[in-house]
Amino acid sequence: MTDQPADLLQRWVTTQAGDAAPWVTDQLATLAQGAAERDLHIFLGLAPRKLGKSDLVLSPADRAAADAAHAGWEPQGWSIDGAARVLGLLRFKAQRPFAQVFKDLRRTADAGEMIALYRGLPLYPEPETLDFEVGEGLRSNLKPVFEAIAHRNPFPRDHFDQHRWNHMILKALFVGSDLGPITGLKDRANPELARILVDYAQERWAAGRPVSEELWIPVRPFADAPEIRSRLDRARAEGHLEEALQ
């Protein structure tokens, strides 16, 4: 039987927690027994104070276990306090729907908490109820919060409708985020996105600004569609697009 994500997180966090390991174990047990939300707030607040903020140390086997526990889950780049926060939220036995608990936490989160909350997205119960909350994160002006959703996170691939997916890709380009780490970048390519991206490239060329090479990844599969082809022909005629789509 494969491990559940929470079991993996608990193993990684307690292994790395040193002297604070008993504190983590004890707190998680309390949260799992239906503690008050105040206890959850305090656990989330104390996590970086007790555990520090070092990177979560993961072996190749750990990463494989993560992917086996939840397809596409990539916890590399998580910090130990962030992992503990997600774990606390997974273990917490809430008295009200998960999305309401999440909303309350998100409204008052500091930047580090916000990043952790959104990195945990693929692991939470009732993902369909988190639609609004995910939208708030995508609209964030904090690039690392946006990237907590967009990068190395299978939630968008698995749950976004096409409109939201396309706008996430476009926002990534606008805020200077890499497209490479977006889970499902090729799988979720679609003709509408290809058209938006080519139009966006045209705007950039017109302004004399560079165009990210990564932009062409989701365009390539549709390069021969008539609507896209005509735009690309125009770009070639204007001297752009030397090797981008070869």
């Binding site: 903020k53 070092s54 500091d110 580090g112 690392p144 990237e147």
Partner: protein, 306 residues
């Protein structure tokens, strides 16, 4: 390296952040305060607190400046009892956020009964959470208001070493220091303290427990208050050691008691922060001389907007 331990950056521009970074400011503290316009809903106050622990912290990090804040209900808005009661319920949650180095700025404005009530309640909160306190002293009836603020801290059994009494002047400083509190000075034109006067005070009192800040906000104020004071003090023959204390070390010692502010935060930040929240201070690392110029000059010099 400089620290500005009182700067309301939510009211300032990116030019100011750039100028502060160029002048050698590596860290600053943003006290929760009055926005110039009263909040009339608890929710707007809550979102303001979220902004100073979230977005503003990130914004500062983009300029290589570490941002900390204090959480509190200011004295002016303490007079709106309905708002004050609501805000008090939210404060404990915010007081434990990352980078919160004190409860503040709290204290008296008009010295009303409601101001007194919420000042005391917040002192108790600071005591419970073992956090330092930043005390705003009133503009009007200042001397008496400052003494009273310290009386109340003592009454609640707060260690003076955990309290920064801010906005001191020539009339209040002797008592503040004598009673063992940290003495903050806001280099704020026209109303609080000028940097020439500040230099005279440094010559008289030395650097023990004195903290210089800019208190820059939405009024006519100077985000380079600390840097300009440091420069003027050095030019006036104040020792480097004293300048370092009042423009860097004392603030770090006082607010570092929260456990949320360490020199390593800017000299050796955690990898996760370097990837997400803090761009690093390339100017500092490059060893360039800090320089001071005014925002007006910066704008005028640059013609092209790209």
């Amino acid at each position: 390296m400089l620290i500005d331990p009182h700067a309301h950056m939510i009211s300032r521009t990116t030019d100011d952040y750039q100028a502060m970074a160029d002048a050698g400011v590596v860290a600053l503290i943003e006290p929760a305060f009055w926005l110039g316009q009263p909040r009339t809903f608890v929710g707007t106050y809550v979102d303001y607190l979220s902004t100073i622990v979230g977005w503003e912290r990130f914004r500062a990090g983009q300029f290589g400046i570490r941002h900390y804040c204090t959480i509190g209900l200011n004295s002016k808005e303490a007079n709106n009892e309905e708002l004050a009661e609501g805000v008090m319920e939210w404060l404990p949650r915010f007081a434990l956020k990352e980078g919160v180095v004190a409860i503040g700025e709290i204290g008296y404005d008009e010295q009303t009964a409601l101001e007194d009530k919420y000042f005391r309640l917040q002192l108790e909160l600071a005591k419970e959470l073992n956090l330092p306190v930043m005390v705003h002293t009133p503009h009007r009836d200042k001397k008496r208001g400052t003494s009273r603020s310290m009386d109340v801290c003592e009454e609640h059994g707060i260690d003076p070493g955990m309290v920064v009494i801010d906005h001191n002047n020539e009339e209040t400083v002797a008592e503040t220091l004598q009673r063992g509190f940290w003495a903050g000075f806001s280099i704020y034109p026209s109303t609080k303290m000028g940097n020439k006067r500040m230099v005279e005070l440094l010559k008289q009192y030395g650097g023990e427990r004195i903290i210089v800040d800019s208190a820059c906000d939405w009024g006519i104020s100077d985000c380079l208050g600390v840097a300009k004071t440091a420069q003027l003090a050095l030019e006036s023959g104040v020792s480097e050691e004293t300048v370092r204390k009042v423009c860097y070390q004392n603030a770090l010692d006082a607010y570092g008691q929260s456990g949320q502010m360490k020199e390593d935060d800017w000299l050796n930040p955690p990898a996760i922060d370097q990837r997400t929240l803090y761009e690093g201070n390339s100017i500092l690392r490059g060893g360039r001389e800090p320089h001071i110029e005014t925002p007006g000059e910066r704008r005028a010099k640059q013609l092209l907007i790209e």
